[in-house]
Symmetry: C2
Subunit: 150 residues, 2 copies
């Protein structure tokens, strides 16, 4: 493998790292209006799609660890966006439920995807390319999730 190929991982990993941070920044003005952060928005999206899920189900959907999600949910409970209750059948499980406030934010969040897409689509970037990028990232996510288990 030649030097150019060797440098490739840096040339791809760093842009992913940078793009991730810049995207979070791009979301910020919209999320600020709602008083939430990007990870909190992700949790809400999970709950808007299906409410009353366990902490574990949230960690799996977001590919995060419980030591990240637990404090995150704690802050969201303080913001009165969600409630946390132990399951009756299995006392180990905590069920997360949207409050009325958390539910209402769904409407306020509606224009966010369109606004983001406007920023990210331009004359040099078309939809089919984006779809291809999405496929590739998901491929990597699968590989890296698998890789991380061992």
């Amino acid at each position: 493998m030649d030097d150019k190929a060797l440098q490739l991982s840096n040339q791809v990993c760093f842009p992913i790292y940078s793009a991730s941070r810049l995207i979070t920044r791009a979301y910020k003005p919209y999320l600020d209006e709602m008083g939430i952060t990007y990870p909190q928005y992700l949790v809400l999206m999970v709950l808007w799609e299906s409410d009353n899920v366990s902490v574990n189900q949230i960690t799996q959907k977001l590919l995060l660890n419980t030591n990240t999600v637990s404090p995150l949910l704690k802050r969201m409970e303080k913001l009165e966006l969600i409630e946390r209750n132990r399951s009756i059948e299995d006392e180990r499980i905590v069920i997360v439920q949207l409050t009325e406030k958390g539910n209402l934010l769904k409407g306020q969040a509606k224009p966010i995807p369109e606004n983001l897409l406007k920023i990210m689509l331009n004359e040099n970037i078309n939809l089919s390319e984006i779809l291809q990028l999405k496929e590739m990232l998901n491929e990597w996510i699968e590989i890296l999730s698998e890789n991380n288990k061992n």
Copy 2:
């Protein structure tokens, strides 16, 4: 714009966010051996390419703010990887310089890109696709950096 297109930003932004974290995790075992973190590795790569650069130059290359980089460099100085000295010509500027230890890590870091590439390349992902993804991310980084200035 239809609903599918609207959801696209979520379908791309979240994978970028996840991939970024998973990539950092993939680097971790190699960086652990060197006693550094991924952002510290990025700073070292900047310095290995050209030593004696200002804090500001590092923030620009890594697209990070000084309030992230300053503490990062402070920790790296404590690890004796770098030294920080005020410029004589302009006392506001802090020049960052590799120590012998920081320089020696360059050799130890050499196999990292190849190892990462081995993880990220498989039968479903080829080089040309990766190059295309890289171009696209850089396009977005440019857009989002510009977008963030206002």
